[in-house]
């Protein structure tokens, strides 16, 4: 049996969790053996489980516990440890999100098992055989092939690295309530408050368009041009590490190895040379448009479209053209 932790926002499974289910199906088909069972925790879990019909999930274990309404990583891990004892999975898969990696690390620590983060592929010769893993190192600048032998293999799946396909093996999962025993000690680390973003601001991680700025922007003031274009396109501004190190923009906007990894429909890279540490954060974009003075910049080898020129004249011209076309 393969157990998959499915994260959900309100009553919809997260795309990254659907990606984790793709890897679970590959493993089930490739020797680890099925069936696939899902675990969903917290408010909206049962309705989110209803969305798993085209995902080849046989059973969805749903936990609604008064102490698990807000996120509490150790308690979530305890739920998985107890479900492992009850169901005996050969593999447990989560997505390589902040929460997925965190929860699985606790599962690993509690159960005394190894854990492999941010896998791209996994296969095995059969039950009891080691897993052959392909996983990201250096945030994806480097790939490692590794062998994992464990009574239960604990994996997370690198976000946006596999396509979130559906399967023909359709059929709604059987929904089963699971009632874990949660100790107070498992609730010490939990969300006690939330600071919401400014109203109306598009979140960088969800934006369909991201206007990225690098060293070439030149100054904090220089970002006004990028913000204007991002606003016109209903998008968000993202930046490279140079920009946050210089104090031009807040770190929350950093895209790359030590910042966010984003997957917008369009990434407009303005004055960004294209160092690998930045590329690993934006390579999941469907389309990259590079605006750069240097036609030889490495970003040109990653971009589908390019404009050669000074971003401070090109970006305002694009904004003006968007205004003209849309009549705004």
């Amino acid at each position: 049996m393969i157990l998959v932790l499915v994260e959900h926002v309100e009553d919809r499974p997260e795309r990254t969790s659907l990606e984790a289910l793709v890897m679970a199906r590959q493993l089930a088909a490739g020797g680890a053996g099925g069936p696939i069972e899902a675990l969903l925790v917290g408010e909206g879990a049962a309705s989110a489980a209803g969305w798993l019909a085209p995902q080849g999930v046989a059973t969805a274990h749903v936990v609604s516990h008064p102490s698990l309404i807000d996120y509490a990583p150790v308690a979530w891990a305890e739920v998985i440890v107890q479900l492992m004892a009850a169901r005996g999975p050969s593999v447990v898969v989560a997505s390589g999100t902040d929460r997925g990696n965190e929860v699985m690390a606790y599962v690993a620590a509690k159960a005394g098992l190894p854990m492999a983060a941010n896998c791209l592929a996994a296969e095995t010769g059969g039950p009891g055989e080691p897993l052959m893993l392909t996983r990201q190192r250096w945030a994806g600048s480097l790939i490692e092939e590794a062998r994992l032998t464990a009574s239960t293999a604990l994996l997370t799946v690198a976000p946006h690295a596999v396509a979130d396909e559906e399967t023909d093996a359709a059929g709604a999962p059987t929904i089963q309530a699971f009632a874990p025993a949660i100790a107070d000690a498992d609730l010490r680390t939990r969300v006690v408050g939330r600071i919401e973003p400014e109203a109306g601001k598009v979140s960088l991680s969800d934006a369909r368009v991201v206007v990225g700025g690098g060293r070439g922007v030149g100054s904090a003031e220089g970002f006004a041009d990028l913000e204007e274009l991002a606003d016109l396109l209903g998008g968000a501004v993202g930046v490279s590490r140079v920009v946050t190190s210089a104090g031009w923009r807040p770190h929350a906007e950093q895209v790359g190895q030590t910042g966010l990894r984003i997957a917008p429909d369009l990434y407009i890279a303005c004055g960004i040379s294209g160092a690998i540490q930045h590329i690993v954060g934006c390579q999941a974009a469907k389309v990259i448009l590079a605006i750069n003075k240097d036609p030889e910049a490495p970003i040109m080898q990653r971009a589908r479209y390019a404009v050669i020129g000074d971003l401070h004249s090109v970006v305002p011209a694009i904004s003006a053209e968007v205004r003209r076309v849309t009549g705004r």
Binding site: D98, M104, Y106, A108, A109, P114, M115, A117, N118, M132, W138, L142, I143, E144, E145, A146, A150, R188, T189, R190, V191, V192, R194, E196, L204, D206, R208, V209, T244, S245, G247, H251, Q254, Q257, T258, G259, D265, L266, I276, Q283, V287, L289, M300, Q301, R302, R304, Y305, A306, V307, I308, G309, D310, S313, V314, P316, A317, I318, E321, V325, T326
Partner: protein
């Protein structure tokens, strides 16, 4: 406040990574080494907390003998003591790393008194395992918050924030605690000249830990092939704007 910061020595990779001929390691012949970026910020955060609350900062690493350089870098910006766990130059897995750190932390606490706070980086730049801090916290039975981008200590509590989508989540745990920070929590300072001199002369404690490997076991490394495209040049300078907006329309991002 007594703070311990756990750091890792990693190669300072540039534009393109090349591997050794056996594909086991990054070829570091032409590379320098540095403290993994999140951990650089962990050291800075510890020094700031000690400046505000008093106490001292100890910095510990599991690494090759040369990781002494990274301990001294941390001491140059204000850490008071350094402890090197000699890995024999091998790349230890997360289980073995956490076990060695846990034993060394217990030994330090038995000799010098308890730490109020253990600071880790959220994940190391090289292996990216996302688990060593959590494993140590569970082994020591201390509460832990990871992914932290803002940290405050007051009345025996750690108040920590982390990003979640566009929002920030707030966590509160009692000391002694474990916190794994992310780059962006602060801007690390540059070492001062007196700081460097002090760090150069400081005594380091060296420990020879026992390796208890659990896997996964590295088979080899691969530099991923990236599809290198040739970008379609839409134009030069501001004159390209109409063509750019046509593309935006084709992508359904601008109405017509």
């Amino acid at each position: 406040m007594e703070i311990l910061v756990l750091i890792k020595r990693v190669p300072a990779t540039g534009g393109r990574i090349t591997l050794t001929s056996d594909a086991q390691e990054i070829d570091t012949k032409f590379l320098g080494f540095t403290v993994s970026p999140h951990e650089e910020c962990a050291v800075e955060e510890a020094v700031r907390l000690v400046e505000a609350h008093g106490g001292s900062t100890t910095v510990m690493t599991l690494g090759p003998a040369e990781a002494e350089d990274q301990l001294r870098e941390a001491m140059a910006i204000g850490a008071n003591r350094g402890v090197l766990l000699d890995s024999g130059g091998r790349d230890w897995d997360a289980v073995a790393t956490a076990a060695a750190l846990t034993s060394a932390i217990r030994a330090q606490e038995a000799a010098n008194g308890p730490f109020d706070l253990l600071l880790f980086g959220n994940e190391s730049a090289d292996s990216g395992g996302y688990q060593v801090g959590i494993r140590v916290a569970v082994a020591l039975g201390r509460p832990c918050v990871v992914g932290v981008k803002a940290l405050e200590v007051r009345d025996g509590m750690v108040v920590a924030q982390r990003e979640a989508g566009g929002a920030r989540e707030v966590y509160e745990v009692p000391l002694p605690a474990v916190v794994a920070v992310k780059e962006g929590i602060n801007l690390p300072r540059y070492p001062s000249v007196p700081g460097r001199l002090r760090a150069r002369k400081a005594l380091l404690e060296v420990v020879m830990p026992e390796e208890r490997a659990a896997g996964p076991t590295k088979v080899h490394l691969i530099v991923p092939e990236r599809e290198e495209t040739i970008a379609e040049v839409l134009g030069t300078g501001p004159d390209a704007a109409p063509r750019v907006v046509e593309v935006l329309q084709q992508l359904g991002l601008v109405g017509s």
